[in-house]
Amino acid sequence: MVIRSLVSVVDDDESVRESLPDLLRELGFAVQAFSSAEEFLASDCIGQTRCLILDIAMPGMSGPDLQRELTRRRQAIPIVFITAHGDETVRPRLLEQGAVECLFKPFSDTALHDAVNAALRGS
């Protein structure tokens, strides 16, 4: 049996937490979805997660906040940011700070697959 890499999804939007895991599973990954950064940090999935798909704007701790927290904990998980704010200026900044990719919602399945693959290759 092929061991599927674990991709964790953190997004406060419920429809994303419903739809994105299904697509990722179709693409052949194991998926865990969390509604907030705090929930993810509290889980035991951090160590197994090979790729983190992270929403930028969330109530409470934001996506970049979580990224910093993981760096602080020396958890080098490749991160693909996703955001509904079509602000192009955030992308280069996030990539500079170590993100593998930043996808603007709505994004295609191909773009998602490429980003996750890139994340897994890097790890």
Binding site: D22, L27, H85
Partner: protein, 828 residues
């Protein structure tokens, strides 16, 4: 012997002397001689008298013989006659004497007594022969001639002129006393002078040329020139000379009369000077120039003096410089700026007391010691000062005119007359200068005012249709000021749309009442000007109707009003646009979220269907979720559309004071136009309120404009408008707009808020009815109350919610809460 002598009677009377025939014959001859004949012995005793003697004197021979004859001599003449006779006897030579001899009737007549001695061969005088002839008539003629001559001299000396009689070549022959006294020389001295000697060197050539011409042609001489007086002073004279001719027409002498015209010349010079001064005044010369000429005029009229004029400064407390052309600058400087008082000096005293101040001798002057004026004047060599106040026609003291002398002097009546004349002219000049200055100020002010307010004026005579424009109006119409104004020219400039109302105004003019009118000009370059006319109807002396009007170019005002209206219209849009700008990210986020779900679900669905075997249940589930997300996106769009269609409020926290200030800024010109005085009483401790900024602005604007309009007819009190904010006790904030307008009747209070209750013809307000519903949608109330004094107050109060404001720092988040929770605020 001359024939006029009295010959006496022809009768002969013999005395006791014996006669021979020869003696008788001789005696007859002696008796016949025309005279009184006598002989005397060497000792002087008379021994013979002819018949003439006793016939004349009435003395008998016996009475007259010896010394008896002396009784017939006038007692006053006798001593001299006797002395003369004695000396003649002693000298032994012939002689002649005059004396009055009494006639038989007692009348004395003048006689000349001529005597010759007769000597014998040894030279011894043996006899004296004498004859006395009557010279009374001759004496009388001589005396009369002397008398005439004396009277002539008296007359000449009495003439108020210098009289001069000259030889045909101009040498003086006779001069009268005035002439002598004036030149200070006797006739003999004058005869040694060169011709023209007494003339002023400047006048001498012309005087001589005229004289020689007269001598040559015999034409009367007439010349005006200065002649030197004995003391060296030159005075002006009119010299006239007329020739006296003999029977052959030859000139035998010249009569010359010199008249002193110095006073006339001075009067003429003064008059000419005054004329020049008045011309300068009329010509608008500078006051300093006029006063300088005035001083110089007096200095040339009253010689050896220095003149000055000081003026009173506008405050009336200090002396200012007027003119002092011949006084030392240091003296003038010392006078200027002195306070108007009795202590500051003669001029300050003259001004202070409005009376003449004479300091005839400054060396002994005791006044003005406090200001040490006298030592200062003496240091400048001045020893006399006469200062006279210069008063305006209304009696206000304008300054002082002063004459200074280098030696003690007291004014003569002529001086005082001159001073009074000069101060009168100075008064005219100064008053004129002051009123000119005032006029210039006021003209400059008016011109500046016109320029600043772009105002012109015109007049129109209705009877003739004649129109007169001021320069400004020509500028407004951009027409040539040289050309006369015609109605056609005006109509050609009027904006076509305003022609009907302009025609209406022309009709109104015919009725002769005051009017106000506004119209536009369409200029050749297609630009538009707005003109505002205020016209006043008046009647001239003949009762003809005439309009006097002010025209103001109100284009900038109209433009700014237009701009303001535009700005008001923009307000709502701009406010909304800025709200939109702030929430664009939220909109994108909210739309992208369901879109992302749709695409992800659709992708999953396709993959599930493409799997082998197809995951149909999974595909169905993802398709279902796709539909759900699609609906969700649709809901977002619906709410956005509702926002764009202005059906929703943009809710945000705001400072009501700030909102009020924005509205005040926006409506300031409108309030000024209504001449409303706006007072602000904005509370410091006002909490933030939550609501639709644009809507609240519109409510406040509405209240302000209503208030201004309510006061538009108020002219008997200030149009006071107050906008006030305050914090109410029950977590509410209140805003009040209070006016001093016409107010409202208590029974009308609710009607005010009826949707269709409005008295407004225009404006941009939204009406009280709409205002009230906006406030109610903010969970507040809007109400009206009558003031204690004049006017009404409109107020609204809305709740403030600290917890909502705290959590709503991000306008986008608040907006989103409005979009996603549409029930929160429902605004009609």
């Amino acid at each position: 012997m001359d024939g006029r002598r009295s010959s006496g009677a022809s009768s002969f009377r013999s005395d006791s002397l014996e006669r021979t025939g020869m003696e008788n014959e001789l005696s007859d001859v002696v008796d016949a001689l025309p005279g009184l004949v006598w002989t005397a012995l060497p000792d002087g005793n008379i021994d013979f008298l002819n018949r003439g003697w006793w016939e004349y004197t009435g003395q008998s021979v016996a009475e007259a013989i010896g010394r008896g004859w002396q009784a017939a001599i006038h007692p006053n003449d006798l001593p001299e006659l006797r002395a003369c006779w004695r000396s003649m006897l002693a000298s032994g030579g012939p002689g002649e004497m005059e004396a009055r001899l009494r006639r038989f009737d007692g009348e004395y007549r003048w006689f000349v007594f001529r005597t010759n001695p007769l000597a014998d061969v040894s030279g011894q005088i043996v006899k004296w022969y004498g004859i006395s002839s009557d010279i009374e008539d001759q004496k009388r003629v001589e005396k009369a001639s002397l008398e005439r001559e004396r009277r002539f001299d008296l007359i000449l000396d009495g003439l108020p002129a210098h009289v001069h009689i000259l030889t045909p070549v101009g040498k003086p022959e006779h001069v009268n006393r005035q002439y002598r006294d004036y030149v200070g020389a006797t006739l003999e001295e004058q005869q040694r002078w060169e011709t023209g000697h007494v003339f002023h060197p400047d006048d001498r050539p012309a005087a001589l040329a005229a004289w020689w011409k007269s001598v040559e042609t015999g034409q009367p001489y007439d010349f005006e020139g200065r002649r030197r007086r004995a003391d060296g002073v030159y005075r002006w004279f009119n010299l006239r000379a007329f020739p006296l001719r003999d029977a052959e027409g030859r000139i035998v002498l010249w009569y010359s009369v010199h008249t002193d015209i110095e006073d006339r010349k001075r009067a003429e010079a003064l008059l000419a000077g005054e004329k020049r001064l008045l011309e300068m005044v009329a010509g608008g010369h500078s006051i300093s120039g006029i006063l300088e000429v005035l001083c110089q005029l007096v200095e040339s009229t009253a010689s050896e003096c220095h003149c000055s004029v000081v003026l009173v400064d506008p405050s009336g407390t200090r002396l200012e410089h007027g003119a002092a052309p011949s006084l030392p600058a240091s003296f003038v400087t010392a006078i200027i700026g002195r306070p108007v008082s009795v202590d500051s000096g003669p001029c300050a005293m003259a001004v202070y007391r409005n009376e003449r101040v004479i300091a005839a001798d400054i060396t002994s002057e005791t006044r003005w010691a406090a200001s040490a004026w006298c030592p200062m004047a003496l240091a400048h060599g001045l020893q006399a000062c006469w200062s006279t106040p210069i008063s305006s026609t209304s009696g206000k003291v304008l300054g002082a005119f002063a004459i200074y002398y280098d030696e003690p002097r007291t004014p003569t009546p002529q001086h005082l007359a001159l001073i009074d004349q000069i101060t009168h002219i100075a008064s005219i000049a100064i008053e004129r200068a002051q009123s000119d200055a005032a006029l210039r100020r006021s003209e400059a002010f008016l011109a500046e005012t016109r320029r600043l307010s772009s105002t012109g004026g015109f007049s129109k005579r209705m009877a003739t249709g004649e129109i007169t424009w001021s320069e400004e109006v020509y500028r407004m119409f951009e027409l040539d000021p040289a050309a006369p104004v015609t109605l056609e020219q005006i109509l050609a400039r009027i904006h076509p749309e305003d022609i009907p109302s302009f025609d209406e105004m022309l009709d109104r003019q015919q009725r002769g009442s005051d009017y106000e009118h506004e119209y536009r000009l369409l200029m050749p370059d297609r630009s538009v000007k707005y003109l505002h006319v205020v016209a006043h109807a008046t009647r001239d002396q003949d009762g003809q109707l005439e309009y006097i009007a002010a025209v103001q170019d109100v284009t900038p005002r109209r433009r700014s009003e237009e701009a303001l209206a535009k700005a008001r219209a923009e307000l709502a849009r701009v406010a909304r646009v800025s709200s939109l700008g702030a929430v664009t990210a939220s909109i994108a986020h909210e739309v992208n979220q369901p879109l992302s779900g749709i695409i992800t679900n659709a992708s999953t669905c396709l993959r599930m269907l493409a799997a082998d075997p197809p995951n149909v249940d999974g595909a169905r589930e993802t398709a279902r979720r796709t539909i759900r997300d699609g609906n969700r996106a649709s809901d977002v769009i619906t709410r956005l559309r509702a926002l764009f269609s202005k059906k929703h409020a943009a809710i945000e926290p705001m400072d009501l004071n700030e909102v009020a200030r924005e509205v005040i800024t926006l409506s300031r010109s409108e309030l000024q136009r209504n001449r409303a005085i706006l007072g602000r009483e904005l509370a410091d401790d006002l909490p933030l309120v939550t609501g639709d900024r644009v809507q609240l602005q519109q409510v406040i604007l509405n209240l302000l404009l209503n208030a201004a309009e309510a006061m538009s007819g108020v002219d008997d009190r200030p149009r006071q408008l107050v906008i006030r904010t305050e914090r109410e006790e029950d977590d509410r904030v209140r805003l009040t707009v209070q006016d001093a307008g016409v107010g409202f009747e208590p029974q009308d209070v609710e009607r005010l808020f009826d949707a269709f209750y409005t008295t407004k013809s225009g404006g941009m307000g939204i009406g009280l009815s709409v205002s009230r519903s906006i406030i109610e949608s903010h969970h507040g109330t809007l109400w009206a109350t009558s003031n204690d004094g004049p006017g009404a107050s409109f107020a609204f109060s809305i709740p403030w919610r600290p917890e909502r404001v705290e959590g709503a720092r991000n306008p986008g988040a608040v907006w989103m809460s409005a979009v996603t929770d549409a029930q929160h605020v429902r605004v009609p």
